[in-house]
């Protein structure tokens, strides 16, 4: 279709066209990932490098946030539970909340902001400065080197970060419970592990894998398809965060429905 014909289309029609074209492109990008991930050569060195960047370099931020989440959530929940004489249930409440929802969600949202934007900006800038073309003309597959390695790294590392966040959040909660209710660490953690089930942990890990994949693939897709120079790089980083966060909430909602349905069986 010529540009002139496209200009004559009504506003809504153009928006629909753009939306569905984007959807088709995203689908073909995801399909390409699953095709390329299985085919050699494998960029192990780059995958490990990315795992380090995504995992280790996120630790300070994740630690601080996880700790504060655990501490604040405990302090906020205490008055309500005390009112009903159920303050002793604090460890159970916190463990269920952290393991089932808050740990994965908080970690994924922070990673979407930190890791997703950095992937979008990095690949976007490589795209506009022709570095991706340079890889291609040197007979190297840029998709494998840039996209597959980063998506695998986020998919591997986010679940590990989630487990770490859960632990740090529970430690934050323990400090508060210990200071106010004089509960020992062993009592606290016995209560924590009594409250959570295998399904809680399993669903949390599965969700985290999905969140990790989403953050990686969205960041790479936005970066890989960026244009319009430096402005495009900014847009790629920005939309990588916004879209990842949006998808993470949708996935959380769907996962919740599925897990609840399994629990009801």
């Amino acid at each position: 279709m010529s540009v002139e014909e496209d200009d004559k289309k009504p506003f809504l029609s153009k928006k629909f066209d753009k939306f569905f074209t984007g959807l088709a492109n995203a689908w073909s990008f995801v399909s390409r990932f699953f095709k390329e991930v299985l085919l050699p050569p494998y960029e192990f060195k780059e995958i490990i490098h990315q795992c380090y960047r995504i995992g280790v370099e996120s630790l300070p931020l994740i630690s601080l946030t996880g700790f504060i989440v655990g501490l604040v959530f405990t302090n906020q929940s205490r008055p309500s539970l005390t009112e009903f004489g159920a303050a002793s249930w604090l460890p159970s409440l916190i463990s269920i909340a952290v393991v089932r929802a808050m740990g994965p969600l908080v970690t994924a949202l922070i990673a979407a902001g930190k890791v997703g934007s950095s992937i979008g900006a990095e690949i976007g800038s490589m795209k506009v400065t022709e570095q991706i073309d340079a890889m291609e003309v040197s007979a190297t597959n840029p998709f494998k080197f840039l996209v597959v390695s980063r998506v695998l790294a986020t998919t591997f590392m986010i679940p590990l970060l989630v487990m770490y966040t859960d632990f740090v959040a529970l430690m934050g909660s323990f400090l508060s419970v210990n200071a106010n209710e004089m509960v020992s660490m062993s009592t606290f953690f016995v209560q924590v592990f009594e409250s959570i089930t295998f399904l809680d942990i399993f669903s949390s890990v599965l969700k985290s894998i999905l969140f990790g994949f989403t953050i990686g693939i969205v960041g790479c897709y936005k970066g890989y398809n960026s244009s319009k120079g430096t402005e495009g790089v900014g847009q790629a980083a920005n939309s990588a965060v916004v879209i990842s966060m949006f998808l993470i909430f949708i996935e959380e909602l769907l996962a919740l429905q599925i897990v609840n349905a399994i629990r009801a069986l």
Partner: protein, 250 residues
Amino acid sequence: MEEKVVEIKGLKKSFGDLNVLQGVDLDLHKGENLVVLGKSGSGKSVLIKIMVGLLKQDQGSMLVLGKEVSQLKTKELNQLRLKIGFSFQNSALYDSMTVRENMEFPLVRNVKGLSKKEITYKIEELLEAVGLPQSINQMPSELSGGQKKRIGVARTLILNPEIMLYDEPTAGLDPITCMDINSLIHEIRERYNTSSIVITHDLTCAKETGDRQAVLLDGQFKAIGTFDEVFAHAEDQRVKLFYDYNFINI
């Protein structure tokens, strides 16, 4: 200089309503330095991007080393790409890697079985050839524009290409660095027996590096020949203007 390494016939390429190349014919002979001149946006870079399969033509044929680029499968295209060195306008060095890693990148992925010693030797040899042996551990951000161009050229040479494509090799550089780059293009041809296409709008670069000049205007080559053939007796007013602007209107 008779054997043709690149044969372009009736090549057409459009972007939307914009017809960039409108039936282009051109040959590159073995061992030759061919300069493609034209104003910005005339499709010079598009031409060499089609040559390495970064873009696909709408019509016409692009034979590189006897192979029709648009017909090649990914594996065959990559085999062909190994024989073509592409020096980008902005050097396109991988900015998260050092100069050594930039040069290692294509080498370790395309040449199997090289020891660390052999890789280092090859890198040092090429850095020596482009006059920057001391830059091996520097990051691209620590290099000047001219140095980046040289490293970019060294990176493409590491796979021993038969054809070199230079996209605006002197753009944005001072006159002295331009002279250095022009000499480097000559040296590379002598030392590595390459055939080259130099894309530029800098007539000094064209005159110094090219055996033949081809002027691309309105999607077609308006003049092809030696520098004197093209510019001394230019019939097309715009070709004449191109010359006048560069050499008289300074």
